[in-house]
């Protein structure tokens, strides 16, 4: 069944650049974020966080702190009965790493919570935090993966020998033969920096215990339903008595798709104190203790024929997972997910990889847009860049030579990912054309202003629609997801969608309404989306991992189809016509061929609910115009390409980005403007990761740049305008033909940047970046050959 056939309405909503219904509130400054919510009698929480990276806690003296006149309560680990948030799944040798709500006898990273102080305000609470005296006995600090895996190293968790809590290997085909037969073998050690998603709004939690023993929680989270479930599980509160609300959330990018200790401590405190409690994270806390991401070391090897044909890949990926295994994804999210995405758009079938998740005395790593793929794609693209330079073949031609053809789908990749569809040639054609790639590549690298021109390309395939199948193919064995939506037409003919997805910037209130309007045949303005509140929406995992367009779109489409069919039955009865002859468009039901025979949806809905005489019998059609449907889609893979054009100052290493071209194929586009928003946002973050961002720990495990002064995010002056284009290859397997588009640029644009640097530096030889971010230091090192192996 194709997408067009499913759409029987006349008016198109899918594919239109509808203005976002979310925006007026945001633009007027009237959106309510968590810090805008204050319940009467609220008290505030400040945390005492560890100043040591690894130490035994010998003693905590609360005497002075408790003597402060405004101290309401202080809790430590013992109060919460040593509870933990612990991740485990069906994965073979993934060892659970217990993550305490509050550190007990030991702290394992700087920023770990030791105590929670409750006071009338945050200011006072911080004063009281300063009065707590902690006696630490320092332990050896595991600074990086080399130290962690060294024989005899201190074990950060006594139940995890040698600090390796996950390892996995995979092979397919005959990779040894591929390497024997290769004309060229390229080996690199690739390091990717530790970064943070840094949403504009930090984390925050409010909890309130009601006198009827129910709990209300507000959290700046991407996944309100899972949070409700796990508060019930970990705090032993009946789930039916818990309501979780994610208010306006100012960005998440995967970082808020975790369940953090703070999200359990606050509800616990609310129950304990019978008072509303509030915690709003500050930026320093955020950089210290909200999920980090992307730090991996990879040892990658590429086997290639001299005509540019890729024969095989080997990789060993080690994720610097930090001190814990973040719930609910675990430390496997970097190395395992990354390696599964190694083949990208290429047809080769011989591969072998192994990956490890290793504990260090740092904040734990978790999900962040592009998850493990950012690192794996960078490794693949940089060995390809090197091979292209050595073989003197343009990288674009290497892409074309190795692409999967559009008539070969479904295609099983070297890592057994089932690519459903795509047209990689067309996407790359478009990108080359928009950027004028061939002509720019023929220019001299040396510009008249003393700088070097660099033109870099990259291509990606993005696993999207994070349901059970894509999770499985991305390294999460046995994971399942539950997502549903309810579509409900009221007696006046307007429609409410109760969605398990939860937009926090993605515009799902707009796109889900578009899908519903087109499927059901009502006006866009007559559809309202409720999401982010477990009391009023439908169970779902939330919004992350490029899933909401496909999964949300699918659930809404299915439920809206049910309601439409019901409405048509009623219309057929009332209008004395054949249901098959009826058309619904923009809230009006017509009889095909007799345009003057029509009724509005509102009239029909009213009759259905209230007019016993005219409606069909309730045995025939129940008078409820509502349906709840579930959707766990098959795997679908988006693709795209980026071209980055830079000017590089070879004397200072400064990079000035002149142009960025982004081409995306995410199947049927629900709202082009929203997809472009995703493309631009992803490019910005990808450039940040590629050029600027690195959380730097020193050997004592202290985070040396825990502020925006030294942890650098891209700003408006870093980026040029981004030129976007769409190619539409509908997915043949998903409802509506949708594919996801959220991660895209973070699989790719940093690789294009790396390629652009390598291109600019060709005047010095083959100088390919091997680590992220590519700062001015690395550029000068590459030029001087102190870092390059060329």
């Amino acid at each position: 069944m194709n997408a067009a056939a499913r759409m029987r309405g006349v008016t198109k909503h899918i594919g239109m650049s509808r203005k976002r219904t979310e925006d007026p509130l945001l633009l007027m400054g009237k959106a309510k974020y968590i810090d805008d919510i204050t319940l009467p009698g609220t008290v505030e929480v400040a945390f005492l966080r560890s100043t040591h990276a690894h130490a035994d806690i010998k003693h905590i003296n609360l005497e002075k702190a408790r003597a402060h006149p405004d101290c309401i309560r202080i809790i430590t680990c013992a109060d919460m009965d040593g509870g933990t948030v612990t991740y485990s799944n069906h994965q073979g040798n993934l060892k659970p790493v217990p993550t305490p709500f509050l550190a007990g006898e030991k702290v394992r990273f700087v920023g770990e919570i030791i105590a929670a102080v409750i006071a009338p305000s945050r200011y006072v609470a911080e004063d009281i935090v300063d009065l707590i005296e902690v006696e630490y006995e320092p332990l050896p600090v595991i600074f990086d993966i080399d130290e962690a895996m060294r024989p005899g190293a201190e074990w950060i968790h006594e139940e995890i020998p040698n600090n390796v809590f996950f390892s996995e290997s995979f092979y397919k085909g005959d990779v040894d033969r591929a390497f024997r037969e290769a004309d060229l073998i390229v080996k690199e050690k690739i390091s990717t920096g530790r970064t943070s998603a840094c949403p504009m709004e930090t984390r925050g939690v409010i909890a309130n215990w009601n006198w009827d023993d129910t709990l209300d929680v507000w959290s700046s989270t991407q996944m309100p339903y899972p949070l409700r479930t796990y508060i019930a599980v970990f705090l032993r509160i009946p789930e039916k008595n818990i309501r979780v609300v994610a208010p306006q959330v100012g960005g998440g990018f995967g970082q808020k798709a975790h369940l953090f200790p703070e999200e359990f401590i606050l509800p616990w405190l609310a129950r304990d104190l019978r008072k509303p409690v509030k915690w709003i994270e500050d930026r320093r806390e955020h950089l210290l203790s909200a999920a980090h991401a992307k730090q991996q070391t990879q040892f990658i090897e590429l086997a290639m024929k001299k005509d540019g044909t890729i024969l095989g890949l080997k990789n060993k990926a080690i994720g610097d997972s930090g001190a814990y295994s973040m719930f609910p994804w675990g430390g496997i999210i970097e190395p395992a997910v990354g390696c599964a995405g190694l083949p990208g758009p290429f047809r080769f079938q011989d591969i072998r990889y192994e990956n490890y998740a290793v504990l260090t005395n740092k904040m734990a790593q978790g999900a962040y847009r592009g998850v493990g793929w950012s690192a794996a794609c960078f490794a693949r693209e940089m060995v390809l860049a090197r091979a292209a330079l050595e073989l003197k073949i343009d990288i674009a031609d290497i892409y074309y030579r190795n692409f999967i053809n559009k008539d070969e789908f479904p295609f099983l990749s070297a890592t057994n990912q089932t690519y459903d569809s795509g047209d990689f040639h067309r996407v790359l054609d478009k990108c080359l054309e928009m950027s004028d790639y061939r002509r720019l590549k023929s220019h001299s690298r040396k510009l008249t202003n003393g700088r070097l021109l660099g033109v870099g390309l990259s291509f990606f395939v993005e696993p999207t629609a994070w349901g059970s199948r894509v999770a499985e193919e991305s390294g999460y064995r046995g994971v399942t997801t539950h997502d549903s939506a309810t579509v409900e037409m009221d007696p006046t003919g307007t429609v409410i969608i109760k969605s398990g997805q939860f937009g926090h910037g993605q515009g799902t209130k707009t796109t889900m309404a578009q899908v519903c309007a087109e499927t059901l045949g009502v006006r866009f303005e007559d559809v309202r989306v409720l999401e982010g509140d477990t009391a009023t929406s439908s169970y779902g995992m939330g919004t992350f991992a490029s899933r909401s367009g496909v999964i949300g779109g699918g659930t809404v489409m299915r439920a809206a189809t049910d309601v439409r069919n019901k409405l048509l039955k009623i219309a057929a009865h009332v209008m004395e016509a054949n249901a098959a002859d009826l058309i619904i468009d923009q809230g009006v039901v017509y009889v095909r061929g007799s345009p003057d025979r029509h009724m509005t949806v509102a009239e029909l809905a009213y009759i259905n609910y209230f007019d016993r005489i005219r409606r069909p019998s309730t045995d025939e059609v129940e008078p409820i115009l509502s349906s709840t449907r579930h959707y766990d889609p098959p795997e679908t893979y988006a693709s795209g390409s980026h071209c980055v054009i830079i000017e590089l100052d070879p004397q200072t290493g400064h990079i000035d980005i002149k142009r960025i071209v982004a081409v995306e194929d995410c199947g049927v586009v629900i709202n082009p403007q929203i997809v472009e928003g995703q493309m631009r946002g992803g490019v910005s973050q990808g450039i940040g990761m590629g050029l600027l961002e690195s959380l730097e720990y020193d050997r004592n495990g202290q985070l040396t740049n825990a502020s925006f002064m030294d942890f650098l995010l891209p700003n408006a002056s870093t980026l040029p305008d981004i030129e976007c284009a769409h190619i539409e290859t509908p997915s043949p397997v998903t409802d509506g033909g949708f594919k996801g588009c959220g991660e895209a640029a973070m699989l790719s644009v940093h690789c294009a940047l790396g390629n652009a640097v390598a291109d600019a530096l060709t005047v010095f030889g083959n100088r390919v970046p091997t680590s992220l971010p590519i700062g001015p230091q690395q550029i000068l090192d590459l030029i001087r050959g102190t870092d390059a192996k060329g």
Binding site: D649, D710, P714, N715, G775, P776
Partner: protein, 261 residues
Amino acid sequence: MAGGQSLIAMMNFRLARPKIVIDVSNIEGRNQISAEEGGLRVRATTVQRHVETSALAQQRIPLLCYAIRHIAHFQIRNKGTIGGNLVNADPASELPATSLVLDAKFEIMSAEGKRTVPAAEFFITSMTTAVAANEVLASVLFTEPPAGSGWGFHETSRRAGDYALAGCVAVVTLDAARKCSRARIGLFGVATTPIRACNAENALLGKEYSVDLLQVAAREIQADIDPESDVHVTAAYRRSVAEVLTVRSLEDAFRRAGERR
């Protein structure tokens, strides 16, 4: 507190815990630039943006405006003050090095009276100046370079608006024979204070412009600087780039001076 652009951040981090904060940002006539014999006097409370956009400053000491434009972003320059920036004395900041090159004179006041400190004696070490605990900076006199002078300013930073990784500000004066009769080279981000590169200045005196001359002179800065490594770049990077930026600044300074001769 004048603009609070550094103090408030330090207080948020609880690195500064003053018992009393006196806000002087709303006093009358806070923004004052006046032409004096030999230069421009700027009241310490003047916001940076006021100087940056002042026609008088543009006309008399364009270098001052150009340097200020590199301090953070305009929103910050709308709050941040000239005095606050100089007294904060961040060694990577643009204005302290510029004040050295412009032979600035700092007028410092206390209940006991006034005293004037030349720029060369004002910056003591990182974030520390000659202003004592019971004193405030009242105004700064930026000296106008003599006729036949040209200036150059170059810095490199990770992003526009960040503190410089390294930077150079230079003023060169040419005599009628187009020989260098006076030179000022200030460097920032390469030591615990902004510094004058006196050896490099001396290397220029009496010489005519040549590409070689600039390179030879720039090499002389190495003896005067003592950069550190940080999360962004190494000390060696700063040494190398400071030299490059010195050449570029001198290049511009000689060109501008030549145009004015």
